[in-house]
């Protein structure tokens, strides 16, 4: 199973044998190699090192070559304020400061930081391009327009819509040219990242964004590459309009329910991706929290037309163990991950002597049925199934947020979550069994015990 093909198949809405995993490693890569975000974004050597390190550590099926929505703006004259732990931010807007649109030039290979970015892209594509899918991220036309004009654009949309149309048409040309540069450097997928569209209504989206985003996707497809439309923030109201722009894929963050996006995208034949929580889970959560969040996303997304990813650019200080935890779940290796993470030293748990216990013991290994939907459904199935057997059967949930439960999991040989074991035997893995089927399995165990 080739990772790159996995991503491309999911992007094109095909059924896959495993959900592909694409961590959006942007400025976080700087922390992996011990440099500041500024040092990272200004050096092709650092970008190559950072992306390579992310590939080695996180076992992704795809990666962005860079996550910086300020490259085009800087190349057209926006001053940037760099930071140690964030992408740079735009500090000036040329069109607000008196520059005319006609004076702006579409940036090319030699402008701004494009030499650095394209050099890094070519080298990453050479090194990793046959292994994983590589994304070139471009700033979407509306976000780019905001960078160039500032917040006055919202009033121009009402007062002088023609000016905004001219600006958006120019931004579309910038997007197409940036896409061309990334494609020529070797990427497989162009992601049009337009977070500021979350700030406008569907009507404004249809009038001011759609006519300029759609041609970008058309161009990318004409080059034989995949295309994705990324948005972050509460853009639920605009998902339908985004689909109408005909990208292959839409990627969203935690502000939009994944089930909703799945429903809308399926009407348009568009695949979708997301939306592991960035702050609460990836940055501040535990490895178990991250596995739970990934599991929830994957159970909703399914194996057709879905790509697992964070909601947006991962924070600089995201603990690598959290990202590795997600990767372990994706690859069905949670047990190995837990064993290798050295959290279990000094914890010892005795398994019961199942054969000699009077009751049949159902062990349910979960992330946490209170926070993980598949775990909750599995526990509910077990509770309902056990009700018929009275005191002949006892069930226990082992939540792996507790170290003792992790040891239990390892001793039972459980590799995936959630899992039901009956008298120490693994019976149901990940899939929630039908209650009647589960009752049948429990009855078999009860009868076996009674016969002894």
């Amino acid at each position: 199973m080739n990772s790159k093909q996995l991503v491309l198949d999911a992007l094109h809405n095909k059924e896959v044998e495993r959900i592909p995993w694409v961590p959006f490693v942007g400025c976080h890569a700087a922390s992996l190699i011990g440099v500041t975000a500024e040092e990272y974004f200004k050096s092709s050597d650092n970008i190559v090192k950072g992306v390579t390190k992310a590939y080695e550590q996180y076992r992704p099926d795809g990666l962005p070559v860079l996550f910086d929505l300020q490259v085009e703006a800087e190349a057209m004259g926006c001053e940037l304020k760099y930071s140690d732990t964030n992408p740079p931010s735009v500090a000036t807007h040329p069109l607000e400061e008196g520059k005319k649109l006609e004076e702006l030039k579409i940036p090319g290979e030699k402008d701004g930081r494009f030499p650095v970015v394209l050099d890094a892209t070519a080298r990453i594509c050479e090194a990793l391009g046959d292994k994983i899918a590589l994304y070139g991220l471009i700033t979407g036309p509306f976000t780019l327009a905001l960078h160039l004009m500032g917040t006055d654009i919202f009033y121009e949309m009402i007062d002088e819509p023609e000016n905004v149309h001219k600006l958006m048409s120019f931004c579309k040309d910038v997007c197409i040219n940036t896409s061309r540069m990334y494609i020529d450097a070797g990427v497989d997928i162009i992601a049009v990242v337009d977070p500021m569209t979350s700030q406008i209504s569907p009507d404004n989206f249809a009038e001011f964004v759609s006519p300029y985003a759609k041609p970008v996707f058309e161009y990318v497809r004409s080059r034989g590459k995949g295309c994705s439309f990324f948005v972050c923030g509460n853009a639920k109201k605009n998902i339908e309009e985004m689909c109408k722009c005909e990208p292959d894929n839409i990627s969203i963050d935690e502000n939009i329910p994944l089930e909703y996006v799945k429903e809308v995208c399926s009407k348009y034949g568009v695949s979708f991706g997301g939306n592991i929580q960035l702050t609460v889970t990836m940055l501040f959560g535990t490895p178990a929290d991250n596995i739970a969040n990934a599991e929830n996303c994957m159970s909703i997304g399914g194996k057709k037309g879905y790509i697992l990813s964070p909601g947006c650019d991962m924070p600089f200080a995201t603990p690598p163990e959290n990202v590795k935890a997600i990767a372990s779940y994706v690859h069905g290796e949670v047990a190995e991950f837990m064993k290798s993470s050295n959290v279990l030293e000094g914890i010892d748990v005795e398994l019961p002597d199942y054969q000699n216990e009077k009751q049949v013991i159902i062990d349910v290994i979960t992330l946490d049925s209170e926070s993980c939907a598949p775990c909750q459904y599995m526990m509910e199935a077990v509770i309902e199934a056990c009700a018929d057997f009275g005191d002949k059967v006892v069930y226990r949930e082992h939540k792996i947020k507790f170290k003792e439960s992790v040891v239990y999991m390892l001793k039972l040989g459980v590799k995936n979550l959630p899992t039901i074991c009956i008298d120490g035997q693994i019976k149901y893995v990940s899939l929630i069994p039908d209650v009647e089927l589960l009752k049948k399995s429990i009855k078999e165990a009860v009868d076996l015990k009674a016969a002894k």
Binding site: S89, G150, T151, F154, P195, Q199, G233, T279, L283
Partner: protein, 93 residues
């Protein structure tokens, strides 16, 4: 003239979108402060989401958040200068 305090609250290590919105909102606040000398600006950066409870008036934990005199008016969305001035005029600007 009564002092009006505008607080801009952000989370350390924001996502790309929040970073862009923060920059634009900060610009807007600074433009307004230049024009109205009774406006005081405060910038609060939280290093953990749990610290949100320590910010008076912060109710919706989406960032960046703008509070005027400890009353939250935005949660993760942009604020233009015209919108801000209209709100401040209601506060007696």
């Amino acid at each position: 003239m009564e002092k009006i305090t505008i607080t801009l609250v952000s989370l350390k290590d924001p996502c790309t979108s929040c970073n862009i919105i923060y920059g634009l909102v900060k610009e807007t606040l600074e433009k307004v402060q230049k024009e109205y000398n009774n406006v005081e600006l405060k910038f609060v950066e939280l290093d953990h989401i749990k610290k949100a409870a320590e910010v008076e008036g912060l109710e919706v934990e989406k960032f960046p958040a703008v509070l005027i005199n400890n009353e939250q008016i935005t949660a993760g969305s942009l604020l233009t200068k015209r919108q801000l001035v209209s709100i401040l005029q209601l506060e007696g600007l």
